[in-house]
């Protein structure tokens, strides 16, 4: 067993864990944050993507033990995030989800695309989404939702400035 201290969705967490535990299993089993989904457990599908120190990462191939001292945000922790708030509305409007299984990972990835790119075109958004499999939607709604949020990014940036 090894000791782990980190921040999850703004709350400090300290836990004794089996070192082989993945971050995904730690979030799901130890903290009951079931919104992080496992789709492949080898880093290829993107369903388990969470935000670690402001970067999207695969929680299925990140050991929980490696996360000493980091800040993790899962889909349950985005409620005060202005970008994700806009993405949620856009996902609804553009029918960017069906079964919902990929959605938490898509949101974490989409947030990163919105924040990291100024004016990506559709081709760039598609390329940035290469690591996230959605088996239901055919992706068009997801790409459109992200494009829409980027188009209105200046407002989102203002909103963010307003909250800090």
């Amino acid at each position: 067993m090894t000791t782990l201290s980190l921040t999850v969705n703004g709350e400090p967490v300290r836990s004794e864990i089996d070192p082989r535990l993945s971050l995904a299993d730690f979030l799901r089993e130890n903290l009951a944050l079931k919104g992080t989904h496992l789709g492949c457990e080898h880093g290829a599908c993107g369903a388990c993507t969470v935000v670690v120190d402001d970067m999207p990462m695969r929680s299925c191939i990140t050991l929980a033990a490696s996360c000493e001292g980091v800040r993790v945000t899962t889909v349950e922790g985005f409620d005060d995030d202005p970008v994700v708030t806009r993405l949620r509305q856009a996902f609804r409007d553009e029918h960017a989800l069906q079964c919902g299984y990929c959605t938490p990972g898509m949101l974490a990835t989409a947030r990163d695309i919105v924040l990291r790119h100024d004016r990506p075109d559709v081709e760039q958004i598609r390329a940035e989404l290469a690591g996230c499999i959605c088996r239901c939607t055919g992706y068009r709604g997801i790409v459109r939702a992200i494009a829409h949020v980027i188009e209105t990014k200046s407002q989102a940036t203002e909103a963010k400035a307003g909250t800090t």
């Binding site: 993945s22 457990e41 880093g43 993507t49 970067m55 000493e68 290469a130």
Partner: protein, 274 residues
């Protein structure tokens, strides 16, 4: 698909990590970003008695401009190289290569050193680093040593690292402003490993040209010196010469494999020569 049990260490310095490796006597493995190792653990195709997580060693993320060369810490991530925040002395080639490695979420954890040590024959960095003429810095119980990229790469999933050694940094010679490069990768879909890779770097001011191919089919990165003369002269290597060079490296390439490697090489050389 859950990893088998192992002991876990998280040293704070390179010295502690090297000591832990010696202590592990072959049963210990270095965990860098883990973006290849953890999936293999999950699939139970890789095992370790002890994992030595080097993620807390700040020195491994250092980048030092040494004048003619830059020393890049082995723990620098693909994403850092993609974003070019370490400065660009290679006319954008590392950023270009990094951008097409797996996916951003993987690039945020995966490291240059981890990829080189894992030595997947289809990986990008072993090919790119050989083409750029990198030198690998290794730390072991008897101190440090340096190895050229071509000597570091031994075989498929095999490097020259001894079991008590770790890679600490990559010394990368700067390119001159007149240098040209091309990096061509044929892959089945975005983010997938290359089916065929060709890297060409031509720096007349520094007097070198390197043509490197890579992939599982050719058994990892290989320098094709026979093709370098034509690039240096600014002419095009004949298709037959490309195929001969590939066949010398790997006689068992089938028609499809030969075709995709030859095409990537020809296009890369043409791009540099034109």
């Amino acid at each position: 698909m859950k990893a088998p049990a192992f002991d876990y260490l998280r040293p704070a310095t390179i010295a502690e990590a090297v000591a832990a490796l010696a202590e592990g006597a072959g049963g210990a493995r270095i965990l860098a970003g883990g973006q290849s190792l953890v999936p293999m653990l999950n699939l139970r195709v890789a095992f370790a008695e002890t994992l030595i997580d080097i993620g807390a060693i700040a020195d491994l993320r250092a980048v030092v401009d040494e004048g003619e060369t830059v020393l890049i810490g082995a723990g620098v991530t693909h994403a850092t190289l993609e974003d070019g925040t370490i400065g660009d002395h290679w006319r954008g080639m590392p950023a270009f290569v990094a951008r097409d490695i797996a996916y951003r979420a993987v690039r945020n954890r995966g490291t240059l050193g981890g990829s080189l040590c894992h030595a997947d024959p289809a990986a990008d960095w072993p090919v790119a680093m050989m083409a750029l003429g990198a030198t690998m810095l290794l730390a072991g119980p008897d101190g440090e040593r340096a190895l050229a990229a071509k000597d570091f790469s031994v075989d498929v999933f095999t490097t020259a690292l001894e079991e008590d050694e770790m890679l600490t940094g990559i010394r990368l010679p700067k390119l001159s402003p007149s240098a040209r490069w091309s990096y061509r990768k044929m892959r089945k879909k975005a983010g997938a490993f290359g089916e065929a890779i060709a890297a060409v770097v031509h720096d007349p001011a520094r007097g070198f040209t390197r043509v490197v191919a890579g992939s599982s089919a050719v058994g990892g990165p290989c320098r094709l010196e026979a093709l370098e003369g034509a690039v240096a002269l600014g002419s095009l290597a004949a298709e037959a010469a490309i195929r001969t060079a590939l066949a010398e490296r790997e006689p068992d390439l089938d028609r499809y494999e030969m075709q995709i490697h030859a095409t990537c090489l020809r296009r890369a050389m043409k791009e540099v020569s034109s």
